[in-house]
Every structure is written in C-alpha cells, then in structure tokens.
Symmetry: C2
Subunit: 329 residues, 2 copies
C-alpha cells in the first residue's frame, strides 16, 4: 500500500496506555524455561525452516506467554507457549506467505486442522509437522481442560484459522473490508480470544454461564480483544510496510479509507481508540477483581495480564527485530 507507506512511520503518534496499564508487568518465573522448552518442542515438530527465525519466535513467544501467565504452573505455561508458537508459525508460513498466492492450498491445509479440531485424530499418511504438532497440542489440552473449556478452545482455534483465511483473501484489498468487518475479525487474527481461553485452562478456573454472559465480562473481554488487535496493528505498521509485499487489512489503512484522513491522523485516531478500550478494560477489571475468592476475580486478573502482554509490546525494543510477532502474533 504505497499510499500509506511513510518513512516517518516510526515517529507516528502511539497510544499512551500508562494511565490504564502503568506497569511494570508481572512475569512468570519460567520465562527462560519456556524459551528452552519451545525450542525443544520445535525440534520434535519442525514448523520453521530457518534456525534464526525459530530462535526469534521462541524468544518472543516465551516473553509474551510469561506476561500472560505470570502465576501459572510450568506445564500450563509450556502448553500455552507451544500453542501460540504453532499459531504464529502457521500464520507466518502458511497464512500470509503462501495463502495470499494460493488460497485453495491454504483451505486444504486448514481442512486438515479442522478435521483434528472436530475430534478426528487418527494419524494419516500425509500428516505434516503442523498436523502432528496440533495433534500433540490438542491431546495435552484435552488432558488438562474441562470438556466445556476444550470445546471453547477448539471453537476459538477454528476462528483463528478462519481469520488467517480471511486475511489471505484480503491482502492489499482494504477497499473490500468495512471497518466493522475488520473490528469483528481482528480479535481472531491476533489470537486474543484463544489466549483468554488458554488462560482459563492454565489457571484452572471456570466461569459459570451467567458470569460469562454478564455485561461486565463481555465488555471487559471485548475491550481487551480490540486493544490487542489494534495495538498489534500500530506496533507492527512500520515493519509491515517497510518489508514490502502485500499487507493484511489493518486499523490505520482502514481509517485512512473510511475517515478520509492521512496516515498521521489515522494513527492519532487509532491511538485514541486504544486508549478508550484500555480505560474500559481497567474499569471492568477493578469492578470484577472486587469479587474476592470468586472465578470473576480470577478472570479479571487473567484479562489484566492478557492486556498487559499486548501493551508491553508498544515499548518492547525487540519488536522491530521480530516484526509482526506480538505477544501471540
């Protein structure tokens, strides 16, 4: 998108989230162990060809998951880290790189994943590393999650794969995407609702249906979900445009189009949108965290850490080196 590329991208306005999420953010004591474990897991399931890219992905995933789950046990953080490594690698290798060129091929790859997610896990002769790795992940989650948690997780994973497909069909075509379409799909492409679902599994709490569908929980989750995708768009904008090639729909490019503004104004608008959702999230976290000893308080703290892991990226110096890879993407 040459009309949105700018050599000044690194000096564009960014959201100031210190009021809502001042930091410092808690981190897991297992951060280094996660990095080692994910590297080990990648040797069993070689998802990424380049050793340098694999190492970078393990590093950023470990730091992201360590911030999402500062209080989870070792197995919990390992499991979540492996899952987000898988999602990010699938997106990088098969989504943008390959899917934009041949969407039918991406559809076939996803069909193999859907088959596993739908509960059919018999190995096939043509299974590749991604399918073998997904089978391993689902087996480990099934052991740890309640049946309903597992159903929610596998539903979110389907939505992530569909989101990757949606992006592949709309690379460099923001004109075909409305702002409301983008806002609906972005949480799936940034994997944030899957992060939320895995936090519930790793931390061992479960909301009741009434709690889950309450206005407070829904509004908190929506605020964190929007924030995650928008922050990721803003933080990765310079890298995405600098590297050339087709780019997926993003908040700045859609705002330029829908509000008829320039890039700087789009970043200013987007930053304000982020600040608004961060503020909403903080209010609901405070409200829900007051339910001491209740799953709602556990959930409030979990959502706070999910938000923090994305907020942390704005100031994360390594972001520029690792590109699109956020806490989870």
């Amino acid at each position: 998108m040459s009309h949105t590329r700018s050599s000044d991208a690194r000096t564009l306005p960014m959201p100031d989230l210190r009021g809502s999420f001042p930091g410092p953010f808690a981190t897991s004591p297992y951060a280094d162990a996660i990095e080692e474990q994910t590297a080990h897991w990648l040797r069993a399931f070689p998802l990424i060809g380049s050793p340098g890219e694999a190492k970078a992905l393990c590093n950023i995933t470990a730091h992201g998951v360590a911030r999402v789950l500062p209080a989870a046990d070792r197995d919990g953080v390992f499991l979540c880290a492996d899952l987000f490594l898988w999602l990010t690698a699938f997106d990088d290798v098969h989504g943008e790189a390959e899917g934009g060129r041949d969407t039918a091929r991406l559809v076939r790859r996803i069909s193999h994943c859907v088959h596993l997610l739908a509960g059919h896990d018999e190995p096939a002769a043509d299974d590749d590393a991604y399918i073998a790795a997904l089978r391993d992940l689902l087996h480990r989650f099934r052991e740890r999650a309640t049946p309903a948690q597992y159903l929610r997780l596998t539903a979110h994973l389907r939505d992530n794969l569909f989101g990757i497909l949606w992006e592949a069909h709309h690379l460099d075509r923001p004109d075909q995407v409305t702002l409301s379409d983008y806002c609906a799909m972005r949480p799936h492409t940034v994997f944030v609702r899957t992060v939320m679902a895995t936090a519930e599994v790793a931390l061992g709490y479960e909301l009741t249906e009434d709690q889950r569908t309450s206005t407070a929980v829904r509004e908190l989750e929506k605020a964190v979900a929007d924030l995650a995708g928008w922050i990721n768009d803003l933080a990765s904008y310079a890298k995405e445009t600098d590297r050339g090639g087709p780019t997926p729909p993003s908040l700045p490019t859609l705002l330029i189009r829908h509000r008829e503004c320039d890039l700087e104004e789009a970043f200013r608008l987007a930053s304000r949108m982020c600040e608004g959702q961060a503020s909403t999230a903080r209010l609901r976290i405070t409200e829900l965290a007051a339910n001491s000893g209740n799953a709602l308080a556990d959930h409030a703290r979990a959502m706070e850490a999910v938000a923090a892991s994305y907020v942390w990226h704005i100031g994360h110096a390594r972001y520029d080196s690792f590109g699109e890879v956020g806490a989870m993407q």
Copy 2:
C-alpha cells in the same frame, strides 16, 4: 466434468441398503406442520428469491427432518427444520452459485456468521436476511440446549461454513483433492454432524464425555456420517452433472481418478462402500440400543433415524425434482 458425465447416470449401480435399513422409516406427526412453519419462517427471513424454489426447499426439508426426528416435540422439529433450511439455502445461494466465482466475497459472508457463532450477536446496520435468520436460530438453540450442546452445535456450524468454503475453492478441481481429504470434509458439507448435534438438543438427552468418546459411539457416528455424504453424492450425481456448471468434489469423481476406473465401476465401488458403512452402523445401533434407559440407547435410536433420513432419499421420487437437496442438503 464432461469426462464423468453420462447419459446413463440414472441406470448406474446404487447401494442396496435394505439389509441394514429395511424401512419403512418412522416419521414425525408434525411433517405437514413443519412445511407450513418453514414457509412462514421464510417469509420473516427471505433467504430465497424464487417462490417455487422456496416451496420445494420447505417441502424436502420438512420430509427430511420429519424422518430425522420422528419422536421429537413440535418446537424441536420446527427449530431443526429452520436451521437446515438456513444451511441449505446458504449453500445453494452463497456457496456454489456465488462462492465459486468470488471466494473472497463468500469469506466475508461467512465472517459475519462466524462473528455470531463466536457469541457476538449485536445487530449491525448491514445485516442481511441470512444474518438476521442465524441470530434468530442461535437465540432459539441457546434457550433449549445445555451450554455444552450449544458449544458443540456452534462448532459444527463453523465446520459446515468452512466446508462450503472448501467446496467453493475446489469446484471442478477434484485433482487437487485426495480421497482422504474428501472423506474428512464430506460430513461437514452434507451437514450430518450438525444433524446429529441438533437431534441431541431436540430429543433432550446428553451423552457423557466417556460415552461420546467410546469406540462404539465414534464408530457409529463415523459410519452414519460417511454414509450420509456418499449417498447424497450418488443420489444427486445425475442431477449435478445434467444441470452443467462446475461441480464440487464427489465420491464417484474421486474414485474415477484415484482408482483409475470408469463411472460405472466408480458407482459400484461407492455402493459397496455405502453398504459397508450401513452394515457397521446397524451393528453399533443394535449394540448401543441394548443399553435400555440410558442416553446411549437414545443416541443409537437418534443415529438410526439420521441414517434412515439419508437412506430414504435413494428411493425418494422427488429427489430428481429438487436436485441436490437431500435430507439436509
């Protein structure tokens, strides 16, 4: 697929399933009421432009659902009929007809459905009849289903929508699809696992996790799922090829390719595959139905009726008039 078209399609070998499913098949006392109700529902949600096609679809859906749910209450059969009308209409109008020409447009339509399925049901300004109708259906299912039943149903619906997308990407391209890919996806494109999930809701039973993952239940469901898709392929072959235009991957066309045989031999092989799965299903139904007073017996009888509704189509005179529309598609 001109090389697979044949003027003799109507005299090709068909499976003989009388040994496993001899009939006559039980039918709901509400069959006529279902037809009226679906016609009424289509007036509220105009999913189909042509009054003739709408009438035909209500008729075949009513007869199919009446055979799937001979013992369910009125609200249960109405709800399931409306859902399968929606799925069939979406597939006919947006899947094959439109999706093959513009897969990105189909992806965007499905993204609106995924947004609802993921639990975000706030109405949007650009909602069309399909989205409004899906919102109505999900609201009614949420009222009737347990939380886990609702999660399973919405997972299967995601798989149906993905299946429609998979077909749209592979119209007239059976060379890109392996037999194992086809077998994995066909249950989703014929909606049969969704039929099973709705039967559980409409009949008010629920398997435990141990029952659901038992070999007997999994084998029964797989046999019925395969049978449904394969029967539909064989029964709709003549119509699909006669009407011209691109065709989705089907068992006969894949067998011709993978077994290097002619159309008649492909039908003979496919018929034997159907007879094998029908026989497996019958054995498991007999075994599970012996668990009197247990949800397993309810499930065995439900799966028997699901299978019967597809088997019934082989001899159903109206099939030729309504084309692809099977019990559920």
